[in-house]
């Protein structure tokens, strides 16, 4: 716990204008995390990586969480140190849920390991990572519109529908009244 407080102190000294706060998770997990503001996340990350006391050189896990009720998306970074074999330090950044403003500075320039994971977060949550070298969809196909891990994502009604020449499938599609089921029709209109 002292180490966490110390990191906060040093970060406040090192990065002027920083807003940082410690979020304490409830026990039993009890994993404290830093909530850093969007403008200074890169500077804090650099500091953590280069500071000889921490040397957080290994960015293990990057993901996002959609807090629908609270109205923000939180990007979570789990950092470890390979050199000093300690960790984790958890960094959290929040961005508004609104797609137009859902932007977070990318940490790929700091840790190369974020590259694919940030792409994944962009793909599934719609978080745009500014400064990411190659921000494309990674798991969903390029033409896909929505971001499926957002909590307000509505999956199409019939996953199984497939336009195969198989007779029974065709008959079923016909029974549904038309070639395109309503869920897919909504997709087409977009």
């Amino acid at each position: 716990m002292e180490a966490i407080e110390k990191i906060k102190e040093i970060a406040l000294q090192a990065v002027p204008g920083l807003r940082i706060e410690i979020i304490n998770s409830t026990p039993p997990a009890a994993q404290p995390a830093f909530l850093v503001d969007r403008e200074h996340i890169v500077a804090v990350a650099r500091m953590l990586k280069t500071d000889p006391r921490w040397q957080m050189d290994f960015c293990s896990c990057v993901t996002a969480v959609d807090y629908l009720k609270e109205g923000y998306i939180e990007v979570v970074y789990h950092l470890y140190s390979v050199a000093l074999k300690h960790g984790p330090v958890v960094l959290k950044v929040r961005a508004p849920r609104d797609l137009a403003q859902c932007e977070v500075p990318s940490l790929t320039p700091v840790w190369r390991g974020c590259e694919f994971q940030e792409r994944e977060a962009y793909d599934l949550f719609g978080v745009r990572f500014t400064g990411h070298p190659d921000l494309r969809r990674i798991l969903m196909w390029d033409e896909f519109r929505d971001h499926p891990l957002r909590k307000d994502y509505v999956p199409p009604a019939d996953y199984e529908w497939e336009p195969t020449p198989h007779g029974e499938v065709l008959a079923r599609a016909k029974a549904q009244g038309g070639v395109i089921p309503p869920s897919a029709a909504a997709e087409v209109k977009k």
Partner: protein, 374 residues
């Protein structure tokens, strides 16, 4: 002297995959070739994407356990353990000692069969026409028989439970495991004799696909790949989860970080895994194999978030879980798949090498698409 003649050549764009014999599943690499030399390579994945994480968020905690089997379908036992570990961390569940030993036994057997198959497929990518793969499968078959005898299924084990394991090991199954561990070194000797010193293999794999140590750390590479590059980092040692601190084992570390090192590190890790297994099978205590306080149905977790990770055969496998106030379902369920992140530097490793090397390098990464695409 006349000026050197410049022949204008065109680059050739080849899409290796998604249907290709050695992309280990439906993985695609958009490769730009200059002659046979790779000048650009972009991995394309997602063909097997099934939104595993969203599925898990709609289900009770335990119902995701069988789905974790399908992540890395070669090592379902490790995946089970990683998920159970994350949940136990989040919910503060104690695991009985015997269950911890059983988990170690299962995880190390998984490591044996995964590495054996991985080096087998790597050699098959080198062109050794399936012989090493089938030798590896011969041993893997025994391990899978053991898994079936214990958990009921060969690959989709669904074995760990929060606070323990599902089925106890009996004397019979323990004897089976001892038999496997006893004969495995003989298989390793045979395998090494078949391939390790093979000049063709050495020529094919040495100095190919070099991953420098600094880049390996920076790009979050984990597992045997990182260790082949000289990164001394093994979560079994660093985190000391489970009962690993009780066992005496060493972590093999390479220097060059090329394909041959990755091959050798896997072989050496198998030898170490055999060592761990011998100790675990010797010391396994009697006692309960499941924490009786943990219910299967209506299992709830207090709100909070937690990250649990283990050293799976492919690297660091982590689960990031968020529980909300209701606590019945995971609010957020994220997998940190090792083989997905290990693919980050595929392009860096492949540039300047031949097409033939690309498949070998990809084979040395040891990916499973069920895990990459989720």
């Amino acid at each position: 002297m006349s000026a050197p003649v410049v022949i204008e050549t065109q680059t050739l764009e080849v899409s290796i995959g998604p249907q290709h014999p050695s992309t280990h599943g439906v993985f695609r690499m958009d490769v730009v070739l200059d002659g046979e030399v790779v000048v650009k390579l972009k991995p394309v994945m997602g063909y097997l994407h099934r939104n595993h994480e969203q599925l898990a968020e709609k289900m009770p905690w335990i119902a995701s356990m069988p789905y974790t089997d399908r992540l890395d379908y070669f090592c379902s036992m490790s995946n089970n353990w990683a998920y159970a570990l994350a949940v136990e961390k989040l919910a503060g569940i104690q695991v009985p000692e015997r269950a911890e030993y059983i988990r170690v036994i299962m995880a190390e057997l998984t490591r044996l069969q995964n590495h054996a198959a991985a080096v087998g497929f790597l050699l098959s990518d080198c062109g050794a026409w399936f012989t090493p793969v089938l030798y590896a499968f011969r041993e893997r078959e025994r391990i899978l028989d053991f898994f079936e005898a214990v958990s009921g299924s060969r690959m989709m084990c669904n074995y760990c439970r929060f606070g323990g394991v599902r089925v106890d090991l009996t004397e019979q199954t323990l004897a089976m495991a001892r038999g496997i561990v006893e004969r495995f070194p003989r298989f390793l000797d045979e395998f090494e004799k078949l391939m390790t010193e093979n000049e063709v293999l050495m020529a094919r794999t040495q100095r190919v696909g070099i991953l420098p140590k600094a880049l390996a750390i920076d790009a979050s590479i984990s597992g045997p790949m990182a260790r082949a590059s000289g990164v001394e980092y093994d979560i079994r040692k660093v985190d000391g989860y489970g009962v690993y601190p009780r066992f005496e084992f060493q972590v093999p570390v390479g220097e060059t970080g090329d394909v041959y090192d990755r091959y050798m590190i896997r072989i050496l890790e198998m030898r170490q895994a055999v060592k761990i297994l011998q100790q675990a099978l010797r010391d396994i205590p009697a006692g309960p194999f499941q924490n009786p306080a943990v219910k299967l149905r209506n299992f709830k977790i207090p709100a909070g978030d937690g990250y649990g990770r283990i050293e799976s055969p492919k690297g660091e496998l982590g689960f990031y879980l968020v529980a909300d106030a209701a606590g019945k379902n995971p609010y957020r369920y994220h997998v940190r798949p090792p083989s997905f992140i290990n693919l980050t530097i595929l392009e860096d490793m492949c540039l300047g090498h031949k097409v033939a090397d690309v498949v070998v390098i990809l084979g040395s990464v040891d990916i499973v698409l069920g895990e990459v695409d989720r």
